[in-house]
């Protein structure tokens, strides 16, 4: 399993497609599945539009409004970030063909920070033949 680090802003979606793609290229698997796993509970990983950065900004804005402002019990005060992590998910799996990540034309892989700034880890594992 490979690992890389990210220094994140307070909140934000960071395009990690190239970092993941490089690991897949340098690995031993020709055909299989690539798993991108975020080992944190107030961050996530998703696949979405790679062209217009307004899309990621709009998604953050909408998520912010969707998760209600309630008298949460968790003392750290970051319960909305925990819920966002579970809504978006902390892992994605992608097809690998000919040692390359396969994505749709408009897709990129985004690390989603919901409670930064922090130093974060991303784990990448490729399995197959």
């Amino acid at each position: 399993m490979e690992q890389f680090f990210l220094d994140t802003p307070k909140e934000g979606f960071i395009d990690i497609t190239l970092l993941v793609g490089e690991i897949v290229l340098n690995g031993h698997v020709r055909r299989g599945i690539c798993q991108v796993f975020v080992p944190h509970t107030t961050a996530g990983v998703t696949i979405n539009e790679n062209a217009d950065p307004d899309v990621a900004a709009d998604m953050q804005l909408a998520l912010e409004q969707m998760v209600p402002d309630l008298p949460y019990q968790h003392v750290e005060g970051n319960s909305p970030a925990h819920l966002k992590s579970s809504l978006i998910g902390c892992s994605v799996t992608l097809p690998v063909i000919d040692h390359s990540l396969v994505l749709g034309t408009w897709q990129a892989i985004y690390f989603c920070e919901f409670d930064g700034p922090r130093r974060r880890k991303v784990w990448v594992q490729v399995i197959g033949v």
Copy 2:
């Protein structure tokens, strides 16, 4: 990796269980994991109830209400569809046993269109032994 096409309505959940199951049956993997991957950023794929079509309709209605109506910046005007894609997810993985997809009694695989009508692709990859 196999691929099939769907012609979608404006919005809707399309049951693709049989299409995916056929690919698994005709493949070389006896035991493993099937990945269904949607290479689009305003559509998704989910697993939910196969019996009463009202469930899928209710889910679309609730999603529509949940995603807020905001002054989004993305000029295409489909930011809610992008967020729905990331909330539902663009891939699912399912167990494969004896060359067959394994699902719960009431489960079906649905392609989720959030910004149609369009011609869409679905990628299916099966890995294992």
Copy 3:
């Protein structure tokens, strides 16, 4: 594929990390991916904080408020539980290294009951080498 059963409350997040970890330890795969699959349509599985139980309680509260109260058509009256299942997801995949599940420091695997109490099943499949 291995299977275990849970007797669930009306609603709640049940930590199943040890149960899944034991299956991985006793399996034949040294390095690969573990899939946890919930074969139900009003329950889910997610990865989130393992330390403060208030986090899971806060997440349930927020989800409850987020899913709107609408005139749903599905006669069983549990459409919100179906939507929560698709928002959270019915499967997670985790890295396996040296016959062990690999998780972040603060991560646990939770079975999410949205429409109990019921007797539920969890399927665990480990693939790799």
